[in-house]
Symmetry: C2
Subunit: 146 residues, 2 copies
């Protein structure tokens, strides 16, 4: 699912921004990795190109997020992870014990979304959501341990 550079260029130009090889490489890296921290994106870019600077990665991820081409979420207490918005919208569940991350169809959360809108006038953004907990494999293994 490599990125279509024309699309990126068009989106950038709409906002008076410029298409650079770094921006193409960084978007491509995010798409290849699925979910990745800025550091991982940097490492991935370096497998293709000689080098890109870390600050360029941060600046570019910010730009790509403003353009709506990537999103970020927090899958750990450490660095955020970015993913392409070409993937269908989803939220994440993360197992605290084994660390496994699964993407979940937002439809599952529809009742929650409706209740929050109805009862609190609040429109949640599920794309940013990561829910921590314990997966089935881990809870059957050692139900007592938290």
């Amino acid at each position: 699912m490599p990125s279509d550079p024309g699309d990126l260029g068009a989106r950038l130009r709409e906002s008076g921004l410029r298409l650079t090889p770094q921006r193409e490489l960084i978007l491509r890296a995010v798409e290849e990795l699925g979910h990745a921290t800025p550091d991982e994106v940097l490492a991935q870019v370096r497998t293709h190109a000689s080098s890109v600077n870390a600050s360029t990665v941060y600046r570019t991820l910010e730009v790509l997020e403003e353009l709506g081409l990537v999103r970020h979420t927090h899958l750990s207490d450490r660095a955020p992870t970015y993913h392409s918005t070409r993937e269908p919208e989803h939220f994440h569940v993360v197992c605290r014990r084994c660390g496994v991350v699964r993407s979940v169809d937002p439809e599952v959360a529809a009742p929650l979304v409706e209740a929050l809108e109805r009862e609190h006038g609040f429109s949640p953004d599920l794309g940013h959501l990561a829910l921590f907990g314990v997966c089935s494999a881990c809870s059957s293994e050692s139900p007592a341990t938290q």
Copy 2:
């Protein structure tokens, strides 16, 4: 709702840990502040006591969390915020535009919890959850802007 020092002391002793003035002050600060980052806790402690070291705040919040007396969640992309578990269990919704944080009864998310358990065998921990989105005041003000 100041903390009962006897309770803290008892919990600590159960685990072979010691009751210190710093630990009392830090727990008290968290309870007074409602939701606070380590930095804010430090500042609050200093309004009572001459001084406590920042590393003691980090170490103590970790201990208090292990004892189940406080919990943390991520209400921003920056530092985590801690709150007392004396508050009834809740999760948080955060408005991206005005920054307002509201606590929500976990009952609202019961259908989501059940669906995740049924369909994915996943038991989510709502206490750690912060949902980002837009509150009613902000969405009526300027519905177009994200």
